[in-house]
């Protein structure tokens, strides 16, 4: 199957790969996985005192579409508030990367990773999500 240029770009030059300290109170960590393909994704956000996401990192084991989806959302999340980040929808990810129908679940994985990271951060700060 042919990957789109945008997927290939993120795959060849993934943005923001890496790890933040999961024990840091300013960091939220989201771990998600897709049993059907065995993909595992870790997405982390660092939130500043104004409630803005100042940094985002990811590590993904999976296909090109899963890597591109997570790389893309780390770019999108930076500078956003938590509420804004939660509004990122898998359909927007899939559209930006021109994912074919069989790869839509990769964008769903990335959306779920955002939710998991935000929810982890909120949990640390005693907020209900």
């Amino acid at each position: 199957m042919a990957y789109s240029d945008k997927v290939l770009d993120h795959y060849d030059n993934p943005r923001n790969v890496g790890k933040l300290d999961a024990d840091d109170p300013d960091v939220g960590t989201g771990m998600v996985g897709a049993p059907a393909c065995g993909d595992v994704m870790r997405l982390q956000i660092k939130v500043d005192s104004q409630g803005i996401i100042e940094d985002a990192r990811f590590k993904t084991y999976g296909c090109g579409s899963a890597i591109a989806s997570s790389s893309l959302v780390t770019e999108w999340m930076k500078g956003k508030t938590l509420d804004e980040a939660e509004q990122i929808k898998n359909t927007a990810i899939a559209e930006e990367l021109a994912l074919p129908p069989v790869k839509i679940h990769c964008s769903v994985l990335a959306e779920d990773a955002i939710k998991a990271a935000v929810s982890d951060y909120r949990g640390k700060h005693g907020e209900k999500s």
Binding site: M31, G33, A34, P35, V40, H105, V108, D112
Partner: protein, 176 residues
């Protein structure tokens, strides 16, 4: 065809399957349904024999694979394991998956890659066996126990994928 895969092979519906019995029955069934035997038959019989042979083959592939067999047993109970949609699983398990994948990436840096791979494989196979025995105990239950069985099948999927990667990696490593 109305009967389920287990009935087709004359086996009790169980997670524990004797692979030897399974492959013996498979050969017997193949002989009976092989389309060559119907070379002289009419079109309808020929078509049926092809269909039947394909079904026997599907059944064999499903029953012999520990992960597919588990998914099939859940299916027999009317449960769809929802592999596509279930993305949030227990964090500790996913962290372990990530650590194992990272370890596999790092294996070539080890002084003794072969020993490192062996250790990794031992841990992973152990985790797989623990999922399998947990599933065998639970899949016939209801409620929380059945949910736990579904969860174990999803975990098996992850581990199975990892074992495939391990196999590919090992092949590449010892090829050169």
């Amino acid at each position: 065809m109305q009967e389920d895969y287990f009935e087709l092979f004359g086996l009790p519906q169980s997670y524990e399957v004797s692979l030897q019995t399974l492959s013996e029955r498979f050969r017997d069934l193949q002989r009976v349904v092989h389309p060559d035997r119907y070379a002289a038959a009419d079109e309808r019989e020929k078509r049926l024999s092809v269909q039947y042979a394909a079904e026997v083959n599907d059944a064999y592939q499903t029953l012999k694979d520990p992960v597919l067999r588990a998914i099939y047993l859940l299916h027999c109970r009317g449960v769809d394991a929802q592999m596509e949609n279930n993305t949030v699983m227990d964090t500790a398990f996913l962290m372990q998956q990530m650590e194992w994948r990272e370890a596999l990436d790092e294996v070539h840096k080890c002084a003794d890659p072969e020993a490192a791979l062996d250790n990794l494989r031992r841990d992973i196979v152990e985790a797989m066996q623990s999922c399998q025995s947990g599933f065998a105990e639970r899949w016939q239950s209801n409620g929380e126990q059945l949910k736990a069985a579904e969860d174990l099948v999803r975990k098996m999927q992850f581990i199975d994928k990892l074992i495939q990667q391990l196999d590919q990696f090992e092949e590449a490593l010892f090829d050169d």
